[in-house]
């Protein structure tokens, strides 16, 4: 497919979280608030793009037998570097995301895209694929956390990760007594994820169904 289709595919058709079911553990655990979702999503996008580009750059000289260890070294170094930078410049976000930043190393999306795409395509294509997939991941995290934060706290808050200032706070205080606290835990995460996955499956199958109908 061409570059544009590939890029858009990362959002719905090949959405890593709802379509390919990759990177679920961090997606479910992080998406408690919008802040966390944005922060994590941007981290993953950054690392994914960078790793895709680097791996694509060395793809011609990497021996086939050790490609996996090489990819992992690259990804792990990137994650460690990003982690240190976050700890220095975005301490609040770093504290919120905690151990999940380190877990990006084993996030299936990164290794999966490296193996499936970056090792076989040019740097620019890989970069776009990385950005597309990363944004798709961020998009899905935003969806989940939008629902979860609202149901669990009856408000939405976005803060600037650099200086901890609240950029946006929408609080529906009249809905406070109706909070469902289960959605701030993993149970709610699974339920929300399941609903969205079902929705995306419907969306994915719509064009196929349409084609079937027209073919009849």
């Amino acid at each position: 497919m061409n570059r544009k289709e590939n890029f858009i595919a990362g959002f719905v058709k090949e959405n890593p979280v709802f379509g390919l079911y990759l990177g679920l553990c961090s997606a479910l655990a992080i998406s408690t608030t919008l802040d966390n979702a944005i922060g994590m999503g941007l981290c993953v996008t950054l690392i994914l793009t960078a790793s895709n580009m680097i791996i694509s750059a060395i793809r011609k000289i990497t021996p086939d037998e050790i490609r996996i260890p090489v990819y992992i070294v690259v990804i792990a170094s990137l994650v460690s570097a990003v982690e240190m930078l976050m700890a220095a410049f975005m301490p609040q976000l770093y504290a919120n995301l905690g151990v999940f930043i380190s877990l990006i190393v084993v996030n299936c999306i990164i290794l999966g895209r490296a193996e499936a795409f970056a090792s076989k395509n040019g740097i620019l294509d890989s970069a776009l694929d990385g950005i597309g997939m990363g944004l798709g991941y961020t998009f899905s995290l935003l969806l989940i956390s939008f629902v979860r934060e609202f149901l669990a706290t009856a408000s939405w808050t976005i803060t600037n990760p650099f200086n901890n200032q609240v950029i946006l706070h929408v609080g529906l205080s009249f809905l406070e007594p109706f909070k469902i606290s289960m959605f701030s835990t993993s149970t709610g995460a699974f339920l929300t994820f399941a609903c969205f996955a079902a929705l995306f499956a419907v969306l994915k199958n719509k064009p196929a169904k349409k084609e079937k109908k027209e073919a009849k």
Binding site: I61, T62, P63, E65, I66, P69, V70, V73, V74, A76, S77, S80, A81, M84, L85, A87, A88, F89, P91, S181, S184
Partner: protein, 397 residues
């Protein structure tokens, strides 16, 4: 062969490059991270003592290991950072508390906790904070009803901080009683009137004494040999207490530990068999007193009340298990009329159980019986008090 060398070299080169990049980034960011940590700590310290000069102290003197950091605020007080494990065993409750130089707890803030929402998380709410802030160094802090595990852990941490404060500020701090039942220190001269120890017979140096342990159980009987005001031997001849619970207190090992005890000795109760242990102590006391020629009639003991108002009549004491610990009730009877009731229950929840302790005595005297309504919201403590009063009335008949 060449292939393997090629692979190894490639991997090594990639590793070296990564290491190089990482060490560069580390050099760049490490000082910033350090500075931030200090700033973060200073920020939370400022919450408790704004604008003070802080210096860090060592926490070596803390035996419990719960206090992770100690700071001194010049001229104001001390701040302690404490971590305790509450209900959630994977994430500790992290809180800071400040103690003024005069020993008053002036601040309490929970930094992180992952306790059960709405239950254990109440240790971070104002509800609990208000029972901590303002207390003196020797005041006890009650646990939260309905959030026992979390609040017990926090109170333990507060006690550890208090102890460390004592060591660092040179103030003497009473060993705070842990909210969980730990074996308190007993001596043989304590008041055991609730155990109704009676010397049944004396045969030379051997005293046969009965005493009760857990309220409602039959009496235990002991054969105690006393010589020169000290215990020579104790044997348990009849066991009437709760089987499976009280037995350890009358085991050979336990009883042999009291050999050589005198009226002023400290004795250890057997953990988990407190009531039966107390029955043993009561019996030992009765034997020692009888040997010394004192009266051991349990009925004329003045009970746990320190009030000096003299009232006409006989005074009886009974204990019952209230909410957080024992509740000791002293009833003064004139014939069959209840003349006075005093209740001591320092482990009852402040503001809840203490309501019952304040209100019930008057109601019982007015009604001249234990058939009184419980104080709403303090049912456990009320029931305990009424039970104790009823027990006394039954015994006195």
């Amino acid at each position: 062969m060449k292939k393997i060398i090629h692979l190894t070299v490639f991997l090594a080169v990639v590793g070296a490059l990564s290491a190089g990049v990482l060490s560069y980034v580390n050099d760049l960011t490490a000082p910033i991270i350090e500075a931030q940590k200090l700033a973060a700590v200073k920020e939370s310290l400022e919450v408790l003592y704004p604008g003070a000069n802080f210096s860090e102290l060592s926490t070596e003197a803390d035996e419990t290991g719960l206090v992770s950091a100690a700071y001194k605020a010049e001229g104001k007080g001390y701040i302690y950072s404490v971590q305790v494990v509450g209900y959630n065993s994977s994430t500790p409750i992290d809180f800071m508390m400040s103690i003024d130089n005069d020993g008053t707890i002036s601040g309490y803030v929970v930094l992180t906790q992952q306790e059960t929402n709405g239950i254990g998380s109440r240790v971070a709410d104002d509800e609990f904070k208000n029972t901590v802030v303002g207390k003196g160094i020797n005041d006890s802090i009650s646990t939260l009803s309905g959030a026992t595990v979390s609040s017990t852990a926090v109170v333990k941490g507060i006690n550890a901080a208090k102890a460390l404060f004592g060591a660092q500020a040179g103030v003497s701090v009473d060993t705070p009683s842990d909210p969980v039942v730990t074996t308190p220190v007993y001596t043989l001269s304590d008041d055991y009137s609730g155990n109704s120890a009676t010397v049944v017979s004396v045969d030379g140096n051997t005293y046969t004494v009965t005493s009760t342990g857990f309220p409602g159980n039959s009496a235990n009987e002991y054969a105690i040999v006393v010589e020169n005001g000290a215990i020579v031997s104790v044997t348990n001849t009849v066991f009437g207490d709760t089987a499976g619970i009280g037995n350890p207190a009358v085991s050979e090992d336990a009883l042999s530990s009291y050999v050589g005890a005198t009226l002023t000795s400290e004795v250890d109760a057997v953990s988990g068999s407190t009531f039966t242990s107390k029955s043993v102590f009561a019996a030992l006391q009765a034997a020692l007193k009888n040997a010394a020629g004192e009266s051991t009639d349990a009925d004329t003991d003045t009970g746990a009340s320190t009030d000096n108002t003299t009232v006409e009549g006989d005074s009886y004491t009974a204990t019952a298990f209230g909410f957080g610990g024992d509740v000791t009730v002293t009833v003064v009877l004139n014939g069959s009329d209840i003349v006075d009731v005093k209740v001591v229950g320092d482990k009852e929840t402040s503001g809840i159980g203490t309501n019952a302790i304040d209100k019930l005595p008057a109601a019982i005297v007015a009604a001249d019986s234990a058939d009184v309504d419980v104080v709403s919201g303090a049912t456990i403590t009320s029931t305990a008090i009424l039970e104790a009063v009823q027990e006394i009335l039954d015994q006195a008949q």
